[in-house]
């Protein structure tokens, strides 16, 4: 029996810190484990006793890459608890803000973190020396997303303009006009991004995923919808805990999520795309077809193309929202606290993000539950490695290690959000 060990001290280009251990025995992967060693983040505990109105600002601090997702899931949950409906232009503005986050988060991942894997570079800096115009396009796209965040959210990182019931201040049509000009160029850049990513050398690898995402009859899912899957799940957000369970595994300070009856599942761009292809804009569908993607996608390495499609969609959708925008009469819906429980689920760039809160009559948070997408995807990342690494054993050691890292980066994992973090140890036994 041959034994070889390849070690990497930490996995770069992943938010947070973490470690992966892959054991290969007799040409087969016998084990793949993500281990987590960042101290747990006690956000759920930290929220207890705080006023319901503080949740969007506290939870926005959980992640610097996807703060809008945390704000949106938390305000949706609070509004659900308080029995208020945020509709019309306020709903549209929230969708616009979410478009901004998708654009900036996906552009960062596509160009700075993921593309170097496909082109054989250690990172974005090395890649930029040979592909300066490509990297500039990525930065311009990210900047367009940041511009939405700054205008609608009040600032680029950890936005401060979202409140339960709506916003603190809503923009005028005049203020949104220059943003539309920026987004028209961004849409062109996004289209070029789809074509460029489709031309990358993408490994052949498919897995039979249980895909889970929100679904809304009238729109590609961001802020609203039922939770559905490609295996017949179709539930209201309120029923999340009846179908999903979080468990603690010894190697990780993050909780792992499983479906009660189907074990591991996949959330994120592949799931959203495959379950909602018909909800994409005509431009995005056409670009997907031209890129060679079908209406579903089960190759995790093609997630870079799917993210590009979502960036294109988000630019297209943002322009539609700005065009149709009518200034609201009030920036928020008035409401009163009450003893209640509320549920919120939205599509963070990395996938489904579930929040649940229980409030007392004064509106103090008695209980908080936050299930981030990376926590839900961890079992799936392990399953990918267990199933796929065996096909790559003829690669040289460095290439194998890089492929393992790339397999994890397919998920754009935000290990910090999942409490979380990485170090890679590939062991041949």
């Amino acid at each position: 029996m041959s034994r070889k060990t390849i070690k990497v001290n930490y996995l770069a280009r992943v938010e947070g810190e973490g470690a992966l251990s892959v054991t290969i025995r007799d040409g087969r992967v016998s084990n793949a484990e993500l281990r987590i060693f960042e101290p747990p983040r006690f956000f759920e505990g930290l929220l207890r006793g705080r006023d319901y109105s503080e949740a969007p600002d506290v939870t926005a601090r959980i992640c610097g890459i996807c703060p809008v997702a945390y704000q949106m899931s938390s305000v949706n949950a609070m509004e659900n608890a308080l029995g208020i409906e945020v509709d019309g232009p306020l709903r549209a503005l929230r969708r616009l803000l979410y478009c901004g986050e998708w654009i900036e988060s996906h552009a960062l991942h596509i160009y700075m973190l993921h593309a170097p894997d496909f082109l054989g570079y250690a990172g974005a800096v090395d890649m930029a020396r040979d592909y300066p115009d490509v990297v500039k396009r990525g930065l311009a796209l990210k900047k367009a997303g940041n511009a939405i965040m700054a205008l609608v959210g009040g600032r680029e990182i950890h936005p401060i303009n979202v409140r339960v019931g709506g916003f603190y201040r809503t923009p005028t049509r005049k203020e949104l006009a220059p943003l539309a000009e920026t987004l028209k160029q961004a849409r062109e850049d996004a289209l070029a991004t789809v074509r460029w990513t489709a031309g990358l050398d993408i490994p052949e690898a498919e897995r039979d995923y249980h895909l889970v995402a929100l679904h809304h009859p009238d729109e590609y899912p961001m802020n609203a919808g039922r939770i559905i899957s490609n295996r017949g799940l179709d539930i209201a957000v309120e029923d999340y805990n009846q179908h999903f369970v979080e468990s603690h595994v010894q190697r990780s300070t993050a909780l792992h999520s499983h479906l009660r009856e189907h074990d591991c599942y996949l959330v994120g761009p592949l799931a959203r795309y495959s379950l909602n292809f018909d909800q994409l804009s005509p431009l995005a569908r056409e670009a997907a077809n031209d890129a060679g993607l079908g209406p579903t996608c089960a190759n995790p390495f093609q997630s870079i193309v799917v993210r590009s499609i979502e960036v294109l969609y988000a630019c297209d959708e943002a322009l539609r929202l700005i065009e149709a925008y009518e200034e609201p009469v009030q920036p928020f819906v008035a409401h009163q606290p009450r003893a209640s429980e509320g549920f919120g689920c939205t599509e963070a760039p990395r996938g489904l993000l579930f929040h649940r809160y229980r409030l007392n009559a004064e509106g103090q948070i008695q209980e908080a539950q936050i299930v981030p997408p990376t926590s839900q995807n961890q079992p799936s990342i392990e399953a990918d490695l267990k199933e796929m690494v065996g096909n790559w054993l003829d690669l040289p050691a460095d290439a194998l290690r890089e492929r393992c890292e790339q397999t994890i980066r397919n998920y754009d994992p935000c290990i910090s959000c999942a409490t979380h973090f990485l170090k890679l140890d590939v062991r041949h036994e």
Partner: protein, 159 residues
Amino acid sequence: MNEPLRPVRIIGVGNRDRGDDALGPLVVQALQDRLPESVSAVEHSGEVSGLMDCLEGAEAVYLVDAAVMGLEPGSVRDFDARTKPLPSLGGNYSSHALGLSEAVELARALDTLPPVCRVFAVEAATFEAGEGLSAAVDAAIPRVAEALLDAITQEGGHA
């Protein structure tokens, strides 16, 4: 949103709530009333694309950040980023592991590095959330502030 940045920029990178990572913002704060009109001093999270925007179009940029360089806490190193690539400053704490060094090196690769670009890095003792500054890094703040004022005065006669 904000007023346009002036030609000479001091950028204090860091997070006020992460122990010694507050150094950059606190140096900027210490300098606010002592700068000539041609100089902007701003705090920045270190997010890579935003930081690159701060570099673009500048005559001179002075970056200040807490770092992990394997030195005694509070030690100050002054890097001239125009003359050679920055070493890793160990800032893989946020933004998907892209930080100050990556922003500067990306700017170099894309030919947007300003004519003057210096980095003042201070060895940190702690990046714990919610902790205050360590005594060693706290004591370095006035020294770094003075070093920055000297650098601005010497390079380009902006004072």
